[in-house]
């Protein structure tokens, strides 16, 4: 039971963190200049957005939950299950970020999940 609970924290918490980070980056807007000084400015602005801190907090929680999970179970069991994050991520992006996930993108996401499972089971 505790394995499945922690897995839910890894998948849902980690993905929610990435969604929050995405929201922060969309808030600061598209980056056009890639000079190191301009990039530092972008990162500085990003870290002043509250969504970024919420996202990093959730990502840290997901990461440490993953480490704990890996100390209980084999990688070949944990990683294929955490690949569900791709599906959860597409759903959350549709719901919370207003992205359009069409059939082709869904097929791509499902194939990526299947591929990750094969890589670790194979």
């Amino acid at each position: 039971m505790r394995v499945w609970l922690l897995l839910a924290v890894v998948v849902l918490g980690g993905t929610a963190g990435e969604i929050a980070v995405t929201r922060a980056m969309k808030q600061i807007g598209e980056v056009h200049h890639f000079h190191p000084r301009a990039l530092l400015g972008v990162l500085g602005r990003a870290f002043r957005v509250k969504w970024m801190w919420l996202g990093l907090g959730l990502l840290a929680m997901g990461f440490f939950s993953l480490l704990t999970l890996l100390s209980w179970e084999n990688v070949s069991f944990v990683v294929p299950l955490t690949a569900l994050s791709y599906v959860v991520g597409a759903l959350m992006a549709k719901l919370f970020l207003g992205e359009e996930v069409d059939q082709i993108r869904w097929m791509g996401v499902l194939l990526v999940v299947l591929g990750v499972v094969l890589v670790y089971v194979g």
Binding site: V21, I28, G29, V31, F34, L43, L97, M107, G108, L111
Partner: protein, 139 residues
Amino acid sequence: MKLRGRFRLKTRVLIVLMVLFGALGDVLLGKGMRQTGGVALTSLRGIFDGLDLGFHNHLVWMGILSLIVFFVCYLLLLSWADYSFVTPTSAASYAVVTILGWMVLGETVPSGRWLGVLVICFGVFLVGRTPSRTDTETE
């Protein structure tokens, strides 16, 4: 709703950099941590001792630097591209890690894993065929 489907040069370049540095970071961290003898996850003391050994290994530091480059590329991409576009695309790093392991480290890769790599590549190809940004402009 305004759709922006151009798969621009900067998107391609940053995806390639993100995938390469993500894979390189994983390989370097994995190799460096194995050189240190691994982390005992049985106690907090074991974890900190293992991480302390890792931080004295130059491969681990190169791995961390690679992962920082990966994360910056990921953040920059998310400033204009969809999350549901960028994240599945980053899975191509599984393929790069497998190919690097086979070519550089001389690892034996079972056929099931090669099949997985092919399926991931096809999935990434399909995601790459969709518009890189579909949400309403927020800028």
